[in-house]
């Protein structure tokens, strides 16, 4: 009780716009997730029927997506519906706060929906049960087929209200879908919603594809393809399916990423046994060489302001992470710990760099400040790599291969996520084996 009183006072002082009691601290591992009741959205009786859509259960479907999103954060504990004390439509009008508090809920989500003239209208409210107050009320109108996105947008709004940070639910992940034996692995580009639903395959698997990455507006993807046995960086328009080679390089180009303004692609170009970092402006087609060193320079990633580039290089002997200005000047090594470091990826908040570390036969995903200080290893395993940031910079998605047989034979590759606190490690469900994930930015921004 004392704790609540203290946080109440602090809240009043620092958040004068709000009288809410509940707030979720996401800066540390949350061992005491917030109990939240997500009431099924009430479906208006007069709603039209829509082909291929179970309108009667749409409210329950939306609330279950919201619950699944909340559960995946590790910050919320969605309560079982059997214990709910009010019918959805009545709770949405006016919750009996004391009854909801009895089932130990601290926050309540209610809502209703209707479909008229082929438009889906969804309204929801978030209630602070401790303070007996409404925290947000919003409504959306969209085409009925967008109902999953509505569930994700509602999740984002609630997450934002309760944590004070941007959400990351209305997002997609592009990755490489894998199948077949390891020595003849078939790899396809695939895209899905952040929660693993609505998977779509973008290539057929006729040629090897690797390392897809979104552009800032999530319309384009850059990746490596072995089309015609010529490994080159490609650009793909997700909507139209149009593909093109990036630049006209007389050799392998690889490790592509977009610049934060989306105007350039930064990548490695390998020639005569030496890999250096180049950029190409997508509009002017001007190619610039950024590094010129006899070592392997690869895995470049821009800082979110575009002023710096982190990359990995073996110029000191083994792979280490370096940071330089975006014109290639002022190269500084930032990793000096025991082990080999690769795949640096700058956080969208700019403060941290995520990386893959190899040491004594183990692989780690970790984060450090952009000057190399404050290294924290989040997860250790036999083999894992390729972290990609959630758009709010709170969660990393990466992939992990596990041996499935006792003698080293057989393996499976899956996507996993982990909070940068090091807590809440989760496997992400994918239809096939999966690798090389890239997380989009928020689609609704």
């Amino acid at each position: 009780m004392k704790k609540i009183a203290i946080s109440f006072i602090i809240f009043l002082i620092f958040n004068s716009y709000s009288f809410a009691l509940i707030k979720v601290d996401i800066t540390r591992g949350n061992l005491d997730p917030l109990p939240i009741a997500v009431s099924p959205l009430h479906v208006d009786d007069k709603s039209e029927n829509i082909k291929d859509l179970d309108v009667k259960n749409l409210g329950a479907s939306i609330s279950s997506i919201i619950e699944k999103n909340f559960k995946s954060t590790g910050l919320f504990n969605p309560l079982k519906k059997e214990a709910f004390v009010q019918k959805p439509d009545i709770a949405h009008l006016k919750p009996r706060f004391e009854d909801w508090r009895l089932i130990k809920a601290q926050a309540l989500v209610t809502g209703k929906l209707s479909i008229n003239e082929n438009k889906l209208k969804v309204e929801f409210r978030l209630w602070d049960l401790t303070a007996s107050k409404e925290m947000i009320a919003l409504s959306f109108t969209t085409t009925p087929s967008n109902w999953r996105r509505v569930a994700h947008i509602i999740s984002d709004k609630i997450y934002e209200r309760l944590t004070g940070e941007d959400g990351y639910f209305d997002t997609r992940i592009i990755y490489v879908a894998e199948s077949g034996p390891k020595d003849q692995r078939v790899k396809k580009l695939a895209i899905m919603d952040q929660d693993g639903s609505r998977t779509k395959y973008l290539t057929l698997g006729n040629e090897l594809v690797l390392t897809p990455r979104f552009n800032p507006s999530n319309q384009m993807v850059t990746y490596l393809s072995y089309f015609r046995n010529l490994p080159r960086v490609y650009l793909l328009d997700i909507e139209t399916g149009k593909q093109e080679v990036v630049g006209n390089f007389p050799g392998m180009t690889f490790a592509p990423r977009f610049s934060p303004d989306g105007k350039k692609i930064i990548m490695s170009f390998a020639k005569d046994g030496n890999s250096d970092i180049y950029t190409m402006d997508l509009e002017t087609r001007i190619v610039e060489r950024i590094t010129d060193h006899s070592s392997i320079d690869t895995s470049p990633s821009y800082s979110p302001d575009g002023k710096y580039i982190s990359f990995n290089s073996d110029r000191s002997g083994l792979q280490q992470i370096y940071v330089m200005k975006s014109d290639g000047s002022n190269v500084k090594r930032i990793t000096f710990g025991n082990g080999i470091y690769g795949t640096p990826v700058w956080s969208p908040r700019g403060d941290l760099i995520a990386f893959t570390k190899m040491r004594k036969g183990k692989f780690y995903i970790g984060v450090m400040r952009s000057d190399g200080s404050g290294e924290r290893l989040l997860t250790e395993n036999f083999y894992q790599e390729a972290p990609s940031w959630s758009p709010n910079g709170r969660v990393l998605v990466f992939y992990r291969e596990t041996k499935s047989g006792p003698d080293g034979k057989g393996f499976s590759a899956k996507l996993w996520s982990i909070d940068i606190t090091g807590y809440n490690e989760r496997k992400i469900q994918t239809e096939t084996d999966a690798s090389d994930p890239s997380w989009s930015s928020l689609l609704s921004k």
């Binding site: 034996p181 020595d183 050799g251 390998a270 392997i296 690869t298 895995s299 390729a386």
Partner: protein, 157 residues
Amino acid sequence: MKFNKNLKNVLLIIFATLALSACSTAKKSQTSGDVYTGTDTVEYLASGVKDRVFFATNKSSLTSASRETLRKQATFLRKNKKLNVTIEGHADERGTREYNLALGERRANAVKDYLMTYGISGKRISVISYGKERPVNSESTPLAWSQNRRSVTVKVK
């Protein structure tokens, strides 16, 4: 504490003995350092001409055995003037994907450069790196990794 220390020493000796005996039986004929020296995965371009050479972890330098293999490949290529080849560079799975692509390219070019010093025109040799994407041995063992760190010379049809 002292007992613990003694126990630790004894255990160390046991482990060392085990490690040595393991080396002296199965792996002795298979690797030197961590470079594969066996022939289980090797194919031949012609009688006595091995198609591949092996590398140490994270390295692209040629061992004396590799140079001998490549000298034979150069002789074979000199005799077959119309034949072009592709050198495939590969890495083991114990590295990040992008770095391994660069490493495979570096290994393939080390082979290309060596063949060129024996008078084979660079125009007859193309290189491609597969990084760790096409292992010859799918297991996750030190032996498999040593077989996968390779450059393979493939005839262009």
